[in-house]
Symmetry: C2
Subunit: 98 residues, 2 copies
């Protein structure tokens, strides 16, 4: 469960995809490809991006909806809120006020 989220976040390309979906949610595969090439200059195939999106979807970070021949990708940030608090439970490092 949390394992999928951490593995999804481990790849820098996937984090860039999350950035682009944060900027504008509901993009298609080709739009994301275009943005990654234009804004970040990284040259990867369409299949690579498609596989990255599959990983993000398996982690629950992206949901998809199909309309005609288009498939839109929406961002889901909920899984991100509950994974770091696991080690952040302590209120303060030193000098906790009782």
């Amino acid at each position: 469960m949390a394992d999928d989220v951490f593995k999804a976040l481990a790849d820098p390309t996937r984090r860039l995809i999350l950035d682009e979906l944060t900027d504008r949610s509901g993009q298609t595969l080709f739009e994301i490809c275009g943005r990654l090439v234009a804004k970040h200059g990284l040259g990867l195939s369409r299949q690579a991006v498609s596989q990255h999106l599959a990983v993000l979807e398996a982690a629950g970070l992206v949901s998809t909806r199909r309309e005609g021949r288009y498939k839109f990708h929406d961002l889901h940030t909920e899984p991100l809120e509950h994974i770091v608090t696991r080690w952040l439970a302590q209120p303060d490092q030193e000098g906790r006020t009782p």
Copy 2:
């Protein structure tokens, strides 16, 4: 920078080590090894744990201090606080109260 943190968190064994250091900070290598074996039943060598600790230290999640022949490992949670907010900047998904 953030890349090291995400890569460090990608491994489940390293996340367990962070759990143990959250439970009690300032443990030695052998103590961590013992806990991983006893509480989680995973059989890995001392070298494996040592290498995991090196990755965590490179990511800034663990700091070490030497005393005699002992080397204590302390938890550092600061890098965890600034990595997820990158996509969590939006206050709410839908129905934000104005």
